[in-house]
Structure formats: structure tokens, C-alpha cells
């Protein structure tokens, strides 16, 4: 079914851009920290939990598209349509809060990375201000520009080649034995890794802008598969590099891996690694800001251009409220689990409801 909504052709983004947008938001900054949570729960069996989670997310993508293809609208419009003006407004306000919270956490997380790894004396607010200015410029260019930035920022995959230079330090026996953990333990691990796969929910907002919604489904599944592969590669190399006891205390395993790389012209690659996370966090920040703008536009008819500075100020103040990086990471897990509820409880509910309700109105 071709999309029949009122987005102008020159504002649409190609359906293939779902690939890098979803991949980019899923991996985010999580690939710096996700190994620790996993190994704390299931040790060397972490990869099993990873595969299970990826399958779950594939399922979520599948029914997200079922809902979106049927309604041909974004989540905010669906809420408004199905739940009426008042309850719809309530749900959509919650959605905006959810998006803005993710913005606050990701921007604070990057600033903390810079403070921990590069400039121990920097003021967090300076960095956040610069990042927010950048995302103002990015978001005011529209979704097309955000998608473009996503594409370029995925070049980081090349950095994974760095694991080759650590070939003398690996212990493949670390991966053995296989399957020594119980099912409750593994499901515990799945629950803890779910936030690292979050990011697919942004699709609920930008779906109408894809020029072919049907085709985008394949790209989205592809994105999830690539996310899984990248996580798997990083996880396996991390497990082979660190002993499990080490890894349980290692807060930034990926950046620590970078530390061991040496070139004849460069040492301490983690400086480069930590710096370039900026190009990963900026599009995510912008996409969620955009999603919040889109929600308030659909629900309250607020102009995006007017609301953008308001949201930026909210994000700026909100992100300064966190005490330290531990709190940010903890909140990140919690918000990820809220996302899980959104995908695995709320969206299926909507599907069941829309099964019997006729589509009111057409498109946006």
C-alpha cells in the first residue's frame, strides 16, 4: 500500500534511510557500555541474551509496521484519533516527556564521556550549550537533514577495524563454556540489554515521512540485524580481551579497548574514539527533539520553529539536574524499559483496538 499522507515530495526521505536512522539510534552511545550489564548477569553467555533481544526487537518492528501501515500516520496522530482529544493529549504529553528525557540523558552522557576521558576540568554546561546550538541548526533543517547526518555518522563502523590491532591480547577460551546459565538469568540479561536496542520507537514518529512505508520495513529489519551484528562483534572481542571479573568493574569497556591500540604515528586512540561520539550523539539528540516537536505539532498545532527553542531550554536545564554519570546510566536503563513497555504493551494494544475500529479521517 503506498503512503497516502500529505507530506510534500521534497520533504520526504528515502525508505532506505530507515536503515541508518534506526541503526544509529539503536547503537547510540550504548555500544560503549553495554557489555558490563550483560556479563554481570550471564558472563560468557552474554551473546545468547543478545540474540534473543534482537529477535524480540524484530518482532516489535514487525507489529509497529502493522500498526503504521494500517493507520498511515504517526503515533501522535493515532493517539489523537483513537483516544479522543483529552486522553490523547495526555498520552502525547507523556510521549513528549519521554522524548525529551532521552535528549537530556544522551546529551549529558556525552558530556560526561568528554569530562571523564578528555577534559577532566571542563564545565558540563559549556559542552551542552555547544551541542544544543548544533542540534538547533540541525533540527531547523528538517528531518531530511537529520537523516543525512545519521548517514555520515554511521561511518564509525570503520572504528571496529581497530580490534584487529589487539590480536595479540585475545583469549578465545574466555568464551567457553557455552550455556551454563539458567533461563531466569538469561531473561534477566535480556531485560538489562533491552535499553541498548531502544531507538526503534522513533520510527513511530518519522514513519509518514518515508517515501515508501512498505519498503522501509525491510530496511528496518536490516537495521536491527546490523545492530545485533555490531554488538555481537564488540561483545565477542570484549569477552576475549577482558576476564569476567575485570569486565564487571569496567565501566567503559569499548573505550578501554581503544586504549591498548598503538600506531607508529598515534597512541591513545581512545581520545579519538571518545571525541567522535559527538557525531553519534548529535543526530540522536536531534531526532528525538524532532520527534517531540512533531508530537506537539500533531497534538497541539504548535509551530515547530517556535517550540524548538523551548524544548532546547528544557533539555538544557533538565540535563544539568543529573548528579553524576552513574545516575545518567541508571535513568537511561529505566527510560529504555519504559520504551520496552511502549513497544511491547502499548503498540500491540493499539493494534488490537484498531483491528475493530474503522479508520477515521485520512492521513495526517
Amino acid at each position: 500500500m503506498p503512503s497516502h499522507h500529505s507530506i510534500q515530495a521534497n520533504q520526504q526521505i528515502p525508505s532506505s534511510s530507515a536503515l541508518y536512522i534506526i541503526f544509529g539510534t539503536q547503537v547510540g552511545l550504548d555500544y560503549l557500555t553495554f557489555q558490563r550489564k550483560l556479563t554481570q548477569a550471564v558472563g560468557q553467555d552474554a551473546w545468547i541474551a543478545l540474540l534473543i533481544t534482537a529477535l524480540l526487537i524484530h518482532l516489535a518492528i514487525w507489529w509497529m509496521f502493522t500498526l503504521l501501515n494500517r493507520q498511515q500516520a504517526d503515533l501522535a496522530t493515532i493517539n489523537k484519533r483513537l483516544l479522543g482529544t483529552w486522553i490523547g493529549a495526555l498520552f502525547n504529553t507523556a510521549l513528549i516527556v519521554y522524548f525529551l528525557l532521552i535528549c537530556m540523558m544522551s546529551i549529558r552522557l556525552y558530556s560526561e564521556i568528554v569530562r571523564i576521558w578528555i577534559f577532566p576540568t571542563i564545565h558540563i554546561w559549556v559542552l551542552e550549550l555547544i551541542l544544543l546550538l548544533l542540534s538547533y541548526y540541525l533540527v531547523s533543517g528538517g528531518l531530511r537533514v537529520i537523516a543525512g547526518f545519521f548517514m555520515f555518522s554511521q561511518l564509525f563502523i570503520v572504528l571496529n577495524g581497530i580490534f584487529y590491532f589487539l590480536r595479540n591480547y585475545y583469549h578465545p577460551t574466555n568464551l567457553l563454556p557455552i550455556m551454563t546459565h539458567t533461563i531466569p538469568e538469561i531473561s534477566q540479561a535480556v531485560w538489562s540489554i533491552i535499553p541498548s536496542f531502544m531507538g526503534v520507537e522513533a520510527l513511530l514518529m518519522f514513519y509518514p515521512y518515508l517515501n515508501n512505508g512498505k519498503k522501509a520495513q525491510r530496511w528496518s529489519h536490516g537495521a536491527n540485524a546490523i545492530t545485533m551484528t555490531v554488538y555481537l562483534i564488540i561483545l565477542v572481542f570484549t569477552l576475549m580481551f577482558f576476564s569476567q571479573e575485570q569486565l564487571k568493574d569496567e565501566m567503559w569497556p569499548t573505550l578501554t579497548l581503544f586504549k591498548f591500540v598503538e600506531f607508529p604515528f598515534m597512541e591513545r586512540v581512545e581520545f579519538i574514539g571518545a571525541t567522535f561520539q559527538l557525531s553519534r550523539v548529535t543526530p540522536i539528540l536531534s531526532l528525538y527533539l524532532w520527534s517531540a516537536l512533531q508530537t506537539s505539532k500533531q497534538q497541539f498545532r504548535f509551530s515547530k520553529r517556535r517550540m524548538l527553542p523551548v524544548y532546547l531550554v528544557i533539555v538544557f536545564i533538565g540535563s544539568l539536574m543529573f548528579h553524576d554519570v552513574q545516575q545518567v546510566l541508571k535513568s537511561y536503563s529505566i527510560i529504555g524499559q519504559v520504551g520496552f513497555v511502549l513497544l511491547f504493551v502499548y503498540v500491540p494494544l493499539l493494534i488490537i483496538v484498531t483491528r475493530w475500529l474503522p479508520v477515521k479521517g485520512k492521513g495526517l
Binding site: R144, F149, P264, R268, F271
Partner: protein, 478 residues
């Protein structure tokens, strides 16, 4: 003589180069012209002998007996003035308002020379000149098909600059043409002296440092772009034409690439991309690493760096700004001076200032090398405007590297990327073929495929016909 025409003559007679005399046997015919605008040789040899022998009272009779091309009957006073101003001769009898305009425009121009801005060692040696018709002729000779359409227009309320918009019917996208015509028609300015004036008025984003149209002086390049479906605009009095829409990929192309074998062409193009990146990032990275991230430098490398900076009293950023400005100064001085003196300045600056600055402990040897290399790299960009842009955008990078080290550089690069993503040329995304990603277009931007395999027009122009060949290559087993 008509009353209106009388007024016209009086009005023009305030200029001393205006001539209006009665000739012919019975002094019944008035001839008026600007002597500085008409070709006096053809006036004396061809026109006068005929006119003197003319007879007939009615303008129509006179018109019929004139054996010249480019003659017309004009009644409107404004039109008469216009024709006078561009070098026509007006013939009038004493009775009627209408008069005959005969073309006797002085056509003096320089001959066609070899391109200087986009020089190439091999390939054709002709470039555009300041005369519009000659330029159109040069392009028509390369594309002798009736589909090559020329739309003429006049821009500038005082300068009345003649422009010609060219496109290939059936290949060029009408949307692009429409965009271009709309913007050109909207221009409201008094004097247009060069194509760059027009470009600066019609660009999509006035605040951008990046060139949003491709300026060229090579007719072969123009023909090439036209054949892809681009729109070319030629301006009278300007030896540079411009084409649109343009994408960043086109700025990596020197036209000589097409005359070299494809291996060499590809090699040079990749070299150019690297040189652009080097030119922008070399000195900022130097500042960032030496100021904040000296841990990155390996132990063996830190020795030479320390020994070259040991006598230096300045922090890296002052050193860099000093050297970068020196190089810019040398370039600017060299460009403003006559060629011979310019060369001398280059040598004096390069050798004397270079070595003396190091000995005087104003800069380090390593930095001098980096700055010189990045200046060289910026000159490797084939399009003049683009290479200027590359040199200027270094300075924000230098400042942000001083403020936030590598993070500053990445912030600055992100701003640059967002700017490029937002930029459009004639409504076409500027960052093609990188975003939107068109791998097919890489064959003529990032590298160059063999000419025979280059059988698809670049998608950036959104051409109506994509295939460059008439026959398709058969598949296996066909």
C-alpha cells in the same frame, strides 16, 4: 520630419558622439547614429554609397530598396533609442514618424585565447571571451543539434546586460530550467558587469561561503554539463559562464581528467579529495594535539617535535595563525601584482620569510611544513571559488581547535556538515552524490570510470533521459 523623431534627435544630441545629418541628393534623408558605437568602416564603404543614391519618399519604399541584412522599421521612440544605444543607424525622411534601423554594430573583441583559470596541459585550447555571440557559437559548434535551446534576456536596468540561458531540450529537467528562469527574471538590479554578479543575486543561500553554481571558462566543460542536463547561463561581457544545478561532486572535477586515461583521472580525483581534507584539518589537528592531547603523540615522534619547538615563545595557535596569515598575504600580494613582479614576490616570500621565520623563532619547522603543504593542497582544487572557500573555512577550525581541542574540531566539522546538508543549488541537494547517496554518480566525481563505461548521465541533474548511449550493452547469453 516627424515631431517625435525631432525630439529624439534633440535629446541625443546632448552627447557629443551623437551624429545626425541630412544626406542624399535632396537632403531628404536624415541619418542618426552614435559614432562610437557603429562600425565606421562599413558605414563609409557599404552604407553611405547606397543611401546617397536612394530615392523615394515613403519609408516603405526606402526600406524595400535597402540591400542590407539586419534592417527593420521602428515606430516606437523607446525602441528607437534602444537600437541607437547598441549601435544601429536610424534612417528617417522628413515626413513620417517611422524610421528604418540598420545594423552597423562595431564588433571589436579579443580573439579566442587558451583558458587561464582552468588551464589544462592537453585538451582544447579555447576559452570563452567577453562576447556573447562568440561564446554561444563555441558551444553550438560542439553541440550542433536543434535541441540546444537558447533563451535570451536582458538583465540590469542601466547596464542592459544580454544573457543567454542554454539547455538541451529533452534531456534537461524542465524543473531546473524553470527555477533558473524564475530567478533570473526576478533580478532587479541596475548594473550587471559579470556573471558573478548574477550568481550572487540568484544563489539559494546568500550566507553560504560555498559556491552554489559552477563557474567555468571552458566551452568543452559547458558542452559536457549541458549534455548531462545542466542549465548554462552565459553573460555578455563576461568570460565566465555558469551552470546549475551543482553538486559538491562537480567541484572535484578538473576538466583535464577526461583527457587523461581513466586510471590517472581517478588517481587525481582521489588525491584532490584527500588534499581538501588535509587542507582543512591539518593545522587545526596540529593545534589540538600540541595544546591538549600530546598523549597521542608516540614517544619516538615527540623528540623531533620538542626539538623543533624548543626555542619558540608562542603557543601553537598563535604560531599557526601567524603562518597561515603569512601564506594568505603572499597569495594575495602575488595575485594583485603584475605577473612578473608577482613571481618575484612568491620567491622572496617563500624562501626568505620561510627560513627567516624559523631562525627568528617565530615558527617551528614542522609547522612550516604543514602550513605550506595545506596551502598547496588547497590550490589543488580545480575550481577557483571552491579553493578559496577551503582556505577560509580553516580559520573557524583553528579557533575551535584552540578552544576545545579535538572536540572543537569535531563540533566545527559537524556544523560544516549540517551546513552542507542544508545547502541546495537550484533546489538540488548540494552534498550529492554522498547524500542522497548515489553510487552511480561516484563514477564521475569521486573517481572516473573509462569513458566507454560512463554511459549513464549523473542523477544529480535529474535528466529526462538517463542513457548516454543509443544501444544497450547486451547481457550475458543475449
Amino acid at each position: 520630419m516627424g515631431k517625435q523623431f525631432d525630439e529624439l534627435v534633440n535629446f541625443h544630441s546632448k552627447s557629443s558622439d551623437f551624429v545626425s545629418v541630412a544626406i542624399a541628393v535632396d537632403e531628404s534623408i536624415f541619418i542618426s547614429y552614435y559614432e562610437t558605437m557603429v562600425d565606421s568602416k562599413s558605414l563609409l564603404q557599404d552604407l553611405f554609397p547606397v543611401i546617397v543614391r536612394l530615392n523615394g519618399d515613403k519609408i516603405e519604399d526606402l526600406y524595400a530598396s535597402l540591400p542590407f541584412p539586419g534592417k527593420q522599421i521602428v515606430t516606437d521612440t523607446n525602441e528607437q533609442t534602444q537600437l541607437l544605444m547598441i549601435g544601429y543607424i536610424l534612417l528617417s525622411n522628413r515626413t513620417e514618424e517611422a524610421c528604418i534601423a540598420v545594423q552597423a554594430v562595431r564588433t571589436e573583441s579579443r580573439s579566442i585565447n587558451a583558458p587561464e583559470v582552468e588551464f589544462s596541459v592537453i585538451g582544447p585550447k579555447d576559452a570563452l571571451i567577453e562576447q556573447l555571440d562568440t561564446n554561444i557559437m563555441q558551444i553550438r559548434r560542439r553541440l550542433p543539434v536543434p535541441e540546444l535551446r537558447v533563451t535570451r534576456m536582458e538583465i540590469g536596468s542601466l547596464s542592459k546586460t544580454k544573457c543567454a540561458v542554454m539547455h538541451l531540450e529533452g534531456i534537461a529537467n524542465p524543473l531546473n530550467l524553470d527555477y533558473m528562469m524564475k530567478r533570473l527574471n526576478k533580478i532587479d538590479m541596475d548594473v550587471i558587469t559579470d556573471s558573478t554578479n548574477i550568481i550572487q543575486i540568484i544563489v539559494d543561500n546568500k550566507y553560504s561561503l560555498f559556491p552554489q553554481f559552477l563557474e567555468t571558462e571552458r566551452p568543452d566543460r559547458l558542452a559536457h554539463v549541458l549534455s548531462f542536463g545542466g542549465i548554462a547561463v552565459l553573460v555578455d561581457g563576461s568570460s565566465q559562464a555558469f551552470t546549475g544545478p551543482v553538486t559538491i561532486g562537480q567541484f572535484l572535477v578538473a576538466y583535464e581528467d577526461y583527457y587523461l586515461s581513466w586510471h590517472l583521472g581517478s588517481f587525481f580525483r582521489i588525491l584532490r579529495i584527500l588534499s581538501i581534507l588535509f587542507s582543512i584539518f591539518a593545522t587545526p589537528v596540529y593545534i589540538a594535539i600540541l595544546t591538549y592531547h600530546y598523549h597521542i603523540i608516540p614517544t619516538l615522534l615527540i623528540g623531533p617535535i620538542i626539538s623543533s619547538r624548543i626555542n619558540l615563545p608562542f603557543p601553537p595557535y598563535l604560531e599557526v595563525i601567524f603562518m597561515e596569515l603569512t601564506i594568505e598575504l603572499l597569495r594575495e600580494a602575488g595575485a594583485r601584482l603584475p605577473t612578473k613582479i608577482g613571481q618575484t614576490i612568491g620567491i622572496v616570500g617563500g624562501i626568505v620569510i620561510g627560513t627567516a621565520a624559523v631562525q627568528a623563532a617565530l615558527t617551528s619547522n614542522i609547522l612550516l611544513t604543514i602550513v605550506a603543504l595545506s596551502a598547496l593542497a588547497s590550490f589543488a582544487v580545480p575550481i577557483f571559488h571552491f579553493s578559496n572557500t577551503i582556505r577560509v573555512i580553516r580559520y573557524p577550525f583553528i579557533l575551535s581547535a584552540q578552544m576545545l581541542g579535538l572536540v572543537g574540531i569535531v563540533v566545527c566539522a559537524s556544523f560544516l556538515l549540517v551546513h552542507l546538508l542544508r545547502l541546495k543549488s537550484l533546489g538540488t541537494p548540494y552534498l550529492q552524490p554522498f547524500y542522497p547517496l548515489r553510487f552511480q554518480d561516484w563514477q564521475d566525481s569521486v573517481f572516473r570510470v573509462p569513458t566507454a563505461s560512463f554511459n549513464k548521465r549523473p542523477g544529480a541533474f535529474r535528466p529526462l533521459r538517463k542513457d548516454r548511449t543509443r544501444t544497450k550493452k547486451p547481457d550475458i547469453d543475449e
